[in-house]
């Protein structure tokens, strides 16, 4: 498992852990059933407080990514399709939002954006056909 924390990100440490572990699980880097370090081992390794790591794990567990076993550690839960879909939807939204922001700066209107999107989808389809 790879967790890299930034002190200057303006994002709370627990949030950084949660996002990085969540991403690793969604991308399949952390396979179903694989064990995560215990809260205390992770806190020691990252040199952060136990409360912070506990919070990251608790939220990951609440969102269905992992299950924690008191006194033992945690492991990655099988990916629930609903959950994956939700996460993917969020990624789509984020991407579109970024496009929207860039478009606004470039002075693009709604139709221009849709045209670009259509064009991209056509290219995608052609790639798939080939």
């Amino acid at each position: 498992m790879r967790v890299v924390l930034s002190n200057n990100a303006g994002v709370p440490l627990y949030q950084q852990i949660k996002e990085q572990v969540g991403t690793a699980i969604l991308s399949g880097e952390l396979a179903e059933g694989s064990a995560l370090p215990s809260v205390r081992a992770l806190a020691r390794d990252l040199r952060i407080s136990i409360i912070t790591t506990t919070r990251a794990y608790t939220e990951l567990a609440a969102e269905g990514f992992i299950a924690t076993i008191p006194g033992k550690g945690a492991y990655v839960l099988p990916m629930n399709s609903e959950l994956v879909r939700e996460q993917l939807l969020r990624q789509v939204e984020d991407g579109l939002q970024a496009a929207l922001n860039a478009g606004r700066h470039a002075g693009l209107r709604r139709d221009d954006l849709i045209e670009i999107l259509d064009g991209l989808m056509r290219e995608d389809q052609q790639d798939a056909v080939r």
Binding site: R47, I51, G71
Partner: protein, 319 residues
């Protein structure tokens, strides 16, 4: 996770000499976590620790340590490791002799652990106690505490006088110790960056009183740093400025989060670091001019709901 307490102080009062006392000191630490006891020199950190360890009598209140009321049975000390800012061993002893001298007192002394830790910390068993540097002396005391398998480690100013490398090592040592969820750490300091990351709980002490105690996030959330122009922080009603600092170009102070909303819009309000909080709470209140004594700040509007212990915090209001 254990729900019981590593220790608790409730309403502790003790007088030290003629002009210092702990007053109504109450705070507690759940088993399995690290607490930082933060305060300036002379705030009462060492006195608090000595009360907790049963080294000095208290006048009122009660203290619970590892499930026993202090002063508890002497056997309680088997479970407590005490690391002070000085060694309390005979300077002429070599480190091998330290083990021989202390081992008979402890039921669970682990000699191989002692030698292994000396090795890990790079301490020469043939070295004499008096020849150790500050950092090495601290590591020796930690080695002793871990060798008798303490469940609670109490550090008094462990990092003062340590170089950054040694301080970083200490953070690692504490992390290792806390892998066991039955282990807890109390850590007094005036150097807060050590606690910014690993501290679970924080207790602020000033002038013998507990100013605030809670998880680190609770304590951080309780305050805001405010910065403004030279006059922006003057004449405010209902806002208590903690440790205000003024220069010709601007003013800075700590305020309680709930009071930050009352400040003018052009004042910059930011989340503080532990260091900000420690600096402002620990700031000395300058003596008011004799002729100006009445302007020592208006009674806060919402004073009724305020915690008793907060009222001793240094405040300064410029009329």
């Amino acid at each position: 996770m254990c729900s019981d307490l590593a220790f608790a102080l409730r309403g502790v009062r003790t007088t030290v000499g003629d002009n210092f006392a702990l007053r109504d000191v109450s705070f507690e630490l759940p088993t399995g976590y690290v607490m930082g006891l933060i305060g300036a020199n002379g705030a009462g950190k060492t006195t608090t620790i000595r009360c907790l360890l049963g080294m000095r009598p208290i006048q009122t209140g009660e203290i619970e340590l590892l499930g026993h009321r202090v002063p508890g049975p002497v056997a309680l000390r088997q479970d407590v490791g005490v690391v002070l800012d000085h060694t309390y061993l005979v300077g002429e002893w070599r480190l091998v002799e330290v083990e021989r001298a202390l081992r008979p007192f402890y039921d669970r002394w682990d000699g191989s652990r002692y030698r292994q830790l000396l090795d890990t910390f790079g301490l020469d068993p043939r070295a004499k106690v008096k020849d150790l540097s500050r950092g090495m002396a601290m590591k020796l005391m930690i080695t002793v505490a871990l060798s008798h398998q303490a469940r609670l480690l109490v550090f008094d100013e462990p990092t003062s006088g340590l170089d950054p490398v040694a301080r970083d090592e200490l953070v690692g040592i504490i992390g290792d110790f806390l892998l066991d969820e039955g282990h807890s750490v109390l850590f007094s300091t005036h150097i807060t960056p050590d606690l910014d990351r690993i501290g679970d709980y924080v207790t602020l002490i000033h002038d013998g009183r507990i100013v605030r105690t809670g998880t680190k996030d609770e304590v951080l959330d309780a305050y805001r740093i405010v910065r403004g122009g030279p006059d922006d922080l003057s004449g405010l009603v209902g806002v208590q400025l903690i440790g205000a600092r003024r220069t010709p170009t601007g003013a800075q102070a700590l305020v309680r989060t709930e009071e930050a909303d009352l400040l003018a819009e052009r004042v910059l309000v930011e989340a503080p670091t532990l260091d900000d909080i420690a600096v402002h709470i620990g700031a000395r209140v300058p003596h008011p001019d004799p002729g100006n004594g009445a302007s020592r700040g208006p009674e806060p509007r919402r004073g009724a709901g305020r915690r008793q212990s907060d009222s001793s915090m240094p405040t300064r209001e410029i009329a």
